[in-house]
Symmetry: C2
Subunit: 239 residues, 2 copies
């Protein structure tokens, strides 16, 4: 049984219960956001379908930063520690959040997991969400930016068919572009046309986690958003 | 706001509300199932990630049946009539069920949509679910069988990471196998190994909606499950 979907017959779940749930989530998200901001950590909510390439992209991100920026992550999954393990092998301190039957991360899950991690040591912290193009979009986690990974193999129509995910996101990473030559039915233009019909200001980068294509632009996008870290004053004793 | 996810803080949604919701869904699903069985229609709940290739596979299924079997469908999507339109163009009478922000079909949505369709004229009726590898698995719609479409581009680990979807399904269509030569990181064996770790009795077919590979086996699988249609007795007047 899904712990999260309280639907089926809307008459059975009063609207105020939904509102209370989302309001409760928003309160915890605001708390998480204050933590990230105070620590000068850029928090990114990374979303996308199952198999869109979120973990591979984070592995490529670690390679692209070449150890010059401290990355951290938590990875939401119904089962297995596989993604967390891959991230740690890639040099990203990471924890897995096992959601069981839940189809998204929420602010409380994130908050509780942060308490088990030295996330303050990161410059950029990724909240890798459960693979799902629907519900993760409505749960604020306290991130500074929402980034959606969309694999070209999913088809050009996904932004139109899942508009909630795309309309408010800050960046779309059009991933697996190395496969475009083998997909005569789609083109990069087709994806950007679809995004421009859903996103008020289409913002996208063409990337490939496998080949590393587009990683420089992605790193530059992240660096441009890093908050100024409040450096604690240190009294230096002059010799 | 999602009409379906009543979560975030489990303390706010009593367990009995969830149980009532699913029990309510199950009652309507049983009603749908009785309708399908009485009419001798094979109902298939077709699930999979966004972009797994569900609609393309149904288009290929229509071609493979060559008009010899009457197909019908309803297609669940958050927005657009795109899939329904594609299915009708492929010769499958189809209706779109627009779910708005809901991440799955439920038995009531299916029931209400059936009332608007001549579904009884189908031999096989497909319930093409919303693209999602989590929640559709827990909502019975009244189908005779659950079929999951898994694209090879999603990666071999998906059965392990989304076990609820795979453990109880009747068949997995491993789709887009035409792309395997371009994906050195995965193999058909890798997928079937992962399925055998999750499904008590692994049942799968390797297919490609684009090339038509594996369609004969899929058509045979469907035909083997078609119920015997109760032929109404007709009194024939002998000359």
């Amino acid at each position: 049984m899904c712990n999260d979907c309280g639907c089926g017959d809307p008459a059975l779940v009063p609207v105020d219960v939904h509102e209370r749930l989302l309001a409760g989530n928003d309160r915890v998200a605001a708390h998480n956001r204050a933590h990230f901001q105070d620590a000068g950590v850029l928090a990114i909510n990374l979303m996308g379908s199952p198999g869109a390439g979120k973990t591979t992209l984070l592995e490529a991100t670690a390679r692209a930063f070449q150890g010059k920026t401290r990355l951290g992550a938590m990875s939401g999954d119904l089962a297995t520690d596989r993604d967390g393990e891959r991230l740690r092998l890639a040099g990203i301190p990471a924890k897995t959040v096992t959601t069981g039957t839940s189809c998204h991360l929420d602010a409380t899950l994130v908050h509780d997991t942060l308490h088990d991690m030295a996330w303050q040591k990161s410059d950029i912290f990724f909240l890798e969400n459960v693979g799902n193009l629907v519900c993760p979009a409505i749960y604020d986690l306290g991130q500074a930016a929402n980034v959606v990974v969309l694999s070209v193999v999913e088809g050009e129509d996904k932004p139109l068919k899942y508009p909630v995910m795309f309309k408010d996101c800050d960046l779309v990473l059009i991933n697996k572009v190395d496969l475009l030559p083998h997909l005569p039915q789609v083109s990069l233009q087709g994806f950007t046309d679809a995004l421009s019909r859903v996103m008020p200001e289409p913002r996208w980068l063409a990337v490939s986690g496998w080949t590393g294509d587009g990683m420089d632009a992605w790193v530059a996008w992240l660096n441009a958003r890093r908050p100024v870290r409040k450096v604690p004053r240190v009294s230096v004793k002059l010799a």
